[in-house]
């Protein structure tokens, strides 16, 4: 069973990595992990923190869909996605993706795929709390390009 959690509490990378190893089993050869953090700076503005909202139920379902899509593309043993909500000061951990597979190309590709789709398809809203005001963030054109890149063969590099 994969793990999907949306929570206000911080997560422990060590705990999630261990849980992944235990769930993945004996044939696991590769664990790829990504952690997203609240940056202190974004261009010229100082970022004091981030405020994240979600839609209970729908958000988890959107993450589940993304993982299912990844599982249809690659051979994966275990996937964990932990995403925080609430108000997170700069420097905080926001999101964790852990993917276990027999082989590294699958683990890498799936981890990156899941992050790319979290950016554009997961039901979250993010507000930057800056020194000069607050701003709701939207997916960038780069985010959409990266998502759409999975349709035209980029994913096949790892296969």
């Amino acid at each position: 069973m994969d793990e999907i959690r949306v929570q206000t509490d911080d997560f422990s990378v060590a705990d999630e990595y261990e849980a992944c190893g235990a769930a993945a089993g004996l044939d696991c050869g590769a664990i790829a992990t990504f952690i997203g953090l609240v940056r202190h700076a974004d261009g010229d503005s100082k970022v004091e923190g981030l405020h994240l909202e979600h839609y209970p139920g729908m958000t988890e379902a959107s993450i589940k869909n993304i993982i299912e899509d990844a599982r249809n593309r690659w051979s994966l043993q275990h996937v964990r996605v932990v995403h925080r909500i609430g108000t997170l000061p700069a420097g905080s951990q926001i999101v964790l993706v852990v993917v276990a597979s027999s082989h590294r190309p699958d683990a890498f590709a799936a981890c990156e795929f899941i992050m790319d789709f979290l950016k554009t398809e997961a039901v979250f809203w993010k507000k930057e709390i800056r020194s000069d005001g607050e701003l709701w963030i939207r997916s960038t054109s780069g985010d959409y390009e990266r998502r759409d890149g999975w349709d035209d063969g980029v994913s096949s590099v790892g296969e």
């Binding site: 997203g36 909202e53 839609y55 139920g57 729908m58 379902a61 995403h83 926001i94 999101v95 992050m115 979290l118 950016k119 554009t120 398809e121 997961a122 039901v123 979250f124 809203w125 993010k126 507000k127 709701w136 963030i137 939207r138 997916s139 985010d143």
Partner: protein, 88 residues
């Protein structure tokens, strides 16, 4: 005479801030569609709500499923107005 049913309407993120409300219970006619819903919302929240709710980048979810076309509401449905999403 149309029978009225109760549905629940949720507003998230910037829409919640714009409208000053996160959730309302709404009376709509049974089998109400997209435009009936908007009429009921206008009656309830005033005509200022139309512009933010009908913005092109706002999605509507009925019972947690995005509905891009027409829909038909029934008693107890949960409707959510979703501004552009971004996670990660």
């Amino acid at each position: 005479m149309a029978i009225n049913v109760k549905v629940n309407v949720l507003f998230f993120a910037s829409l919640k801030e714009d409208l000053g409300v996160s959730e309302i219970e709404l009376d709509v006619s049974d089998r109400a569609g997209r435009s009936d819903l908007l009429d009921s919302l206008t009656s309830e929240l005033g005509s200022d709500c139309v512009s933010p709710l009908m913005a092109e980048n706002v999605s509507i979810a009925v019972n947690r499923s995005i509905e891009k076309g027409e829909f038909v509401l029934k008693s107890g449905d949960e409707i959510a107005f979703l501004p552009p999403i971004t996670g990660g």
